[in-house]
Amino acid sequence: MTNCPRVFGRAVAAVAIVAIVLGAPGVDAQNAPSGVPETADAATAAHVLNRLGYGPAPGDIARVQKMSVAAYIEQQLHPDRIQDPALEARLDAYPTITLSTAEIARDYYGPADALRRQAQQAQANRPDRPAAAAGAAGQTMAGGQTMAGGQTMAGDPAMAGAPPQRPQQSPELQAARRKEQQILQDLMQARLVRAVMSERQLEEVLVDFWFNHFNVFSGKGQVRVYLTEYERDVIRPNVLGNFRDMLGAVAESPAMLFYLDNFQSVDPKAAQKQADQQLARMQQAQARARARGRGRGQAVPPNSQQAQQQAQRIQQARNRGLNENYGRELMELHTLGVDAGYTQDDVVAVARAFTGWTIDRPRDGGSFQFNAAMHDNDPKVVLGQTIDAGGKMDGERVLDLLATHPATAKFIATKLVRHFVADEPPAALVERVADVFMNTKGDLREVTRAVITSPEFFSAEARRAKVKTPLEFVVSAVRASGANLNNPQPLVAALRALGMPLYGAQPPTGWGDTAEDWVSTGALLNRLNFALQLSRGQLRGVRLNVRQLAPDTSQSSQDALVQKLLLGNASTTTRETMAKAESPQQLIALALGSPEFQKR
């Protein structure tokens, strides 16, 4: 995982770059107090590696000490300057993560969808039942959501939208299903490979942080089709960029438009007008058909079930209207934060501004589209400001307003400080970070820098103060033990068992980021079982070099393990339990399962 000579060369290069960067006038950087120590002891290096990344891998602590903490931070803040050919090569194993959504929809979800529709038709037309009219595919939901097996609740594919014909799946459908599952599989495995292997550790941590901030759930309908591009093109390029850019990219992403329903949000007046026109057209067509087909029995009788269903569909479309979900969460979760003083009227006004921000053919993986016919073009008042730009610019103005609002600065600062420093964010630091956000107009590199170079970040209280999330626990265990990650699938499964399935947070709040969110009886036992499985070589594809880690159970092996896995922090009791271990595997399990290893 860590190739020492290569790393060394890079480190030198990085130091040179730092010198250049520090020479440039930094925004606010001079005014903010810095807590970055000039020379770092091993514990400080470990702290930095635990917070900027997923914990130290063998050799990392010495490397950071050697290049200095300041240089390491600077390097991590510029992931584009880090070469990582080993990771690049490794990611070749996941070909779908570079595909376009159109390709994913056509080649991966399309075939299974088509076969499911066929199977459904076949079932509807089974000879033991009276013949039925061939109609639309049954799995379509009112809002254009498809229920093609991906609609899983609580991560269990057997629930909810599992297609009813599952027991009689044809071999073709089984093959097609495997193909569609590959998309999410590749995403999950690539995410873990990156977390474990990437030299751009901070970027990986930030991708996780910002994906979670702008959470979408893979189990909701078409979101899964858009997930690959969402992480790759919407979140990842912006995590150290400008907040407004990321906010805008999210607002236009089909994943979010679908997840929070904005793609169906329509100006109610426009919906009525459209439906009335459709209804009139349908009636004219029926009249023409009656005239043409009189006596020949070909016309669709106006009272037929088909005609009634068509009328019903149009009536439903007529009832379509404003959907407030995105408008509300945009303010509550993406920008201002709850209790920031906005009202229900603001929610409605924001929702109106985003009418017409939709998806072109959502069922076929189409892309963002602004549909002027769905848009409410009347002026709106948001947070006391009149929005009267018209068309798509209405939404853009709202994003401008929210992205530069002081409440947003404070909300984002609070969340970042909570993640990187402590569950209870120190108020003074939040304030300084919020100032940087305001002064730099949301430059997330500067905002992040303000957090991770602060005296609070390096303070004694912050050290090992955070309980690891399941993702941090699993990845840090693999990194710390230097395990060889041939196949990340067992880690995907482990995260499910630990209650944190990748891309599996249902609510738009994403996962919680405090100890209380992750410490529970069942989850704790699952952590211990993970430690046991990993140490006993029971995770197929995750190979631990036990002999290298602990050649025997001797005192010196115990000491070495406490250094390697627990960075020297082991309670007397933990050491006593390790002294009783009867095998190196037990020794490793007792270290990885210990309370000390649950913290970062």
Partner: protein, 408 residues
């Protein structure tokens, strides 16, 4: 910094360390005081067709709207099981008829969420968060109930979901367990499992972290409690036969937990594959057979124990009144819930019946809702579970009426 949960846990730890009653004494003492009530919730995921589950055979419009999938009137072949001369059970749910006749099973019809969504995802989410229309609620209504009534004697098995993952309804601040198989709960440490278990136990007993330490104790207490009962030798009583489905086995394990007096108060089980857009007839028949037989077996197995237990079923929304072109039904609105238990005033179908004529339907197509699902949940928490203040369970909502499904 110290939250209520830690305070409670530390409080109970203090009691034990001061030499007060060990767990099994308090358990016995509690049993003699107030008998613990248990709520077993069953979620039918995928939106069961409530009109073919609890059949309004007295409605002409029902038969008009469903020429090929309606359940025939009672008496004929494949006919509904008559409940009250107007409603009947799907014939494959006949195993529940005796409970209705004995007054132990009640139905609430035309109930559900006032939110218009027809998305499974959103509707399930709303039914579990208990806040229709509000997506950012992070915790579930069952967890908020548990939190509102947190008590020092709460066992680690106070709230258990027999699923792989904790459902939304049970997520939140109050501890709740997801256990898909009781036999798999605990450490899987191989040969020297005992040694490893006690090693980890002492590690966590000495943990400096204010949350890890009490949680570790909780975890190992729970493991030991479960180890004390022989899970493999379970024989259901009264000739009860549980379906072999994961759902049936989940109900069986809930019965095991209740009978073992593990301190269970809220249990959760789920059953899927209800989304019958095409060829509904034979499919829903098999699913309802499994659904009803599971509940019947559970009630039979519990026997007199049902006096303190209530099973409550729910599904995210109902289905269209009219069948579609594929002899199935599409996503609708109102649905039916079943409530079974000793405290239930059964033998009755509750809820105002809105009728199925086109003008009586929701948006001209679905069964209208006359009872908000939160009214049913509120009543169950108050009258069955004995909660006095549930204002925090359904924030921003106060029940509009009491149906009276729970009696004394």
């Amino acid at each position: 910094m110290m939250n209520r949960r830690i305070f409670l846990k530390n409080g109970s730890l203090a009691l034990v360390s001061l030499g007060f009653a060990p767990a099994f004494f308090t358990r016995a003492a509690r049993a003699s005081q107030a008998r613990r009530k248990v709520l077993v919730t069953v979620f039918q995921r995928g939106a069961v067709d409530g009109l073919n589950m609890i059949v309004p055979f007295g409605e002409k419009a029902y038969y008009q709207a469903r020429p090929s999938i309606a359940i025939p009137q009672p008496g004929g072949p494949g006919g509904a099981v008559d409940l009250d001369g107007f409603f009947g059970l799907h014939p494959r749910m006949a195993s529940l008829e005796p409970f209705f006749k004995r007054g132990e099973l009640a139905i609430v019809h035309a109930t559900g969420s006032n939110d218009p969504t027809r998305s499974h995802f959103d509707a399930q989410d709303y039914m579990e968060s208990g806040t229709p229309g509000r997506k950012s609620t992070r915790d579930g209504w069952l967890n908020r109930y548990l939190h509102a009534r947190e008590h020092e004697e709460a066992s680690a098995f106070r709230a258990v979901s027999l699923t792989q993952q904790l459902p939304r309804a049970l997520q939140g601040r109050s501890p709740a367990l997801a256990i898909d198989q009781l036999g798999r709960f605990g450490l899987r440490a191989g040969d020297r499992g005992d040694m490893m278990q006690s090693s980890f136990e002492s590690q966590y007993a000495a943990a400096a972290d204010e949350l890890l330490k009490p949680t570790g104790k909780e975890a190992f207490d729970a493991v030991k409690q479960l180890q004390a009962i022989d899970l493999t030798q379970y024989a259901p009583r009264n000739g009860a036969v549980y379906p072999n489905s994961p759902y049936g086995q989940a109900l069986k394990q809930i019965a095991q937990l209740i009978k073992a007096d593990m301190g269970l108060e809220v249990a959760f089980a789920e059953t899927g594959n209800w989304d019958h857009h095409a060829n509904e007839g034979p499919q829903i028949a098999n699913r309802l057979d499994d659904f009803a037989n599971g509940i019947a077996a559970f009630a039979q197995d519990m026997g007199d124990g049902m006096a303190d237990v209530m099973v409550l079923t729910m599904s995210e929304f109902g289905r269209t009144v009219s069948e579609n072109g594929n002899r199935g039904t599409d996503h609708g609105h109102g649905n039916a819930m079943l409530a079974l238990g000793g405290s239930v005033k059964g033998g009755k179908v509750y809820g105002a019946w809105p009728g199925l004529e086109r003008e009586q339907r929701y948006q001209g197509r679905d069964l209208a809702i006359t009872t908000d699902f939160r009214d049913v949940f509120s009543e169950v928490l108050r009258s069955h579970m004995g909660a006095k203040d549930i204002s925090g369970v359904f924030p921003g909502y106060s029940a509009t009426k009491t149906l009276g499904i729970i009696g004394s």
